[in-house]
Symmetry: none
Subunit: 190 residues, 4 copies
DNA sequence: ATTTAAGCGAGACGGTACGTCTTGTCTTGAG
DNA sequence: CTCAAGACAAGACGTACCGTCTCGCTTAAAT
């Protein structure tokens, strides 16, 4: 049952998200301003304020879509190999604009807890869900021992990866490989 | 041999660092302003600009002293236990104001790479140095296999710990214990 | 047909002009600061910057109104007497706050030519217009010779008067009287 | 009888005056700063503060020498012609850097009365002295009537000339000629 | 057909902080 | 006693954003 009043402009909505994404990709958190987003989107500032309470929320929404795309599983690989592949892809993505955006959101979140919540719910938990399933499968199929600590494994893998990102340290393929070896042992990766 | 010119006021210097530390401890990065630091320290703003190029540098210097205090080794414990103890202490410290400050600096560093450099050189590398020594000792004394990947172990331990911090997730003792178990295996912790 | 956007606050506008006038009247150019004007007007600094490009412009606008008031002609006096009266009144006004303001604007104009332009167009030219009319009338009515140099007479009268002002020299009635005698000859002043 | 202590550096003294003069000539009052004078003179700021109480005094002293140079009388001309010549030369000088400096000092004097005093005593009164002598000579020799108001004539000539300068109006030769005509009548100038 | 209820642009407003600049004072060490 | 060097408190500068606000216009559902 539609409410009275002029409906929300889908055009503006999209333009804002796109402008926000572009700005974040270009300069990270610095230079990410409501004013600039509005200017680039060709939209009035108040329209942004009407729909997003703060920069974190806007940054989140403008980014989430593009983040979840790469979460795909190859059924012809072993669970451990699948995990390795996923980590490698995520690391790869983090080297580009997506990485700047995520780092920016984690940074923004230090001032505004809501951003952390959105980030966790919107991106991290889904990612952990897939990873969790893979780890459980690995246990079920005997690749990992029954008492393998799944949750900690995820804290470790995501944690070290994103920390690496924030410190602007290496996210190259061999770093990911060493990480996987460290977590699972060399034997499990053909 | 002192240089010409009025010498730097040690009093102001200390007052600035103290005020900066207090502000960071109180409100984290938000509300950490040169203006407020100056006001609280009873110092003119230009004096701060004269000595610190940006907020990150000031935040760093105001915190480093209190950070390095806790880097002490108990010689009567095994290397693994020492590592565990260190991680627990660091995690404990991160729950208080120090944690907010470090999270703030990592956040600030996303806009200003110099802050990351200062953080790495001033705090992280020294911490890694101690940790590295302990891990090598553990290998030498047979607690860990000869091919144990020391560097990755540090990426993992510090990484997951600080990521946990930034996500405002648990830093409780049992989390640290699970982390240590995950990295070294339960057997090694008495 | 009003333009879109929040309309300019007439209240703030007036408060700014009033505060500017008061500050100028009190202390002349020294102490005339956007910051103080803002504080006294109870207005944010940016509001002033939005409407006036520099101090001179604000000083001008805050003063022009009160300046043009005194330009009135008494029809029952001879043109020469009218001129004399006008000069005496202007000189009188220059002894008060208005004088400090005008001196301040002429001073300010040495750094910023726009201030001079505003002053000339907003105040001086109108004043010269009236004076010019009186001089022409005096010629027409035979008080002054046909080849009397009207423009130079105005350069001389205004010039010596405002120079006197800037040098903080006498602006008393007898000085004005001597000036008039010098320009027109004693005979013409009853 | 020399006083104890290091003698005043004549080199610094001259460098300061020269730097001050240059800065004034280049940019007028704007950009005339103790800091810049010190920098350009290769002198410490405190040295300037030790010898000059404020900008006006420094501006004055740096300029006075070059101002009085042009006050010379040609004995083979009539007094009126000499006056005319003098005014023309002063007007000519005012079109260059000297003019900017004098205008700057008159402006500066609106904030600091001492500058006005220095200006009057150091430059204006001497100039008026010469002019006064010429006018008296003109009266004595019958070029001007015995009751010619000498002081007012000087107020008028200098006043209109310097006002013209401050308004950035014409200081061309024909303007000076019209001024002389206005004051003395056409007959007296061949 | 008219009212009502948003959405939206434009843009003013009070604030806060930025980083820079200048002022006038002070403190040191060297001449 | 002078001078260079330079630190210091104070405070204004002009700019950039913030979050809020007031308008007038537009768009659609409800009356």
């Amino acid at each position: 049952m539609a409410v009275a009043g002029r409906p929300r402009s889908d055009e503006s909505h999209k333009a804002i998200l796109q402008a926000a994404y572009d700005l974040l990709a270009e300069g990270g958190l610095a230079g990410f301003t409501f004013e600039r987003v509005a200017a680039r989107a060709g939209v009035s500032r108040s329209t942004i304020y009407r729909w997003w309470p703060n920069k974190g929320a806007l940054a989140m929404e403008s980014t989430l879509g593009s983040l979840t795309a790469e979460l795909r599983i190859s059924p012809d690989l072993s669970p451990i190999e699948n995990i390795h592949l996923r980590l490698r892809r995520v690391a790869e993505a983090m080297k580009g604009p997506t990485g700047r955006i995520i780092a920016g959101m984690l940074a923004e979140g230090q001032q505004d807890p809501d951003t952390i919540t959105s980030f966790t719910e919107g991106y991290l938990e889904p990612a952990r869900g897939t990873m969790r399933a893979l780890l459980r499968q690995a246990i079920d199929e005997g690749y990992l021992p029954a008492d393998f600590d799944v949750e900690t494994a995820m804290d470790v893998s995501f944690g070290s990866l994103y920390h690496q990102l924030m410190l602007r340290r290496s996210l190259e393929a061999d770093w990911v490989e060493r990480l996987t070896h460290f977590m699972f042992g060399r034997a499990l990766l053909r």
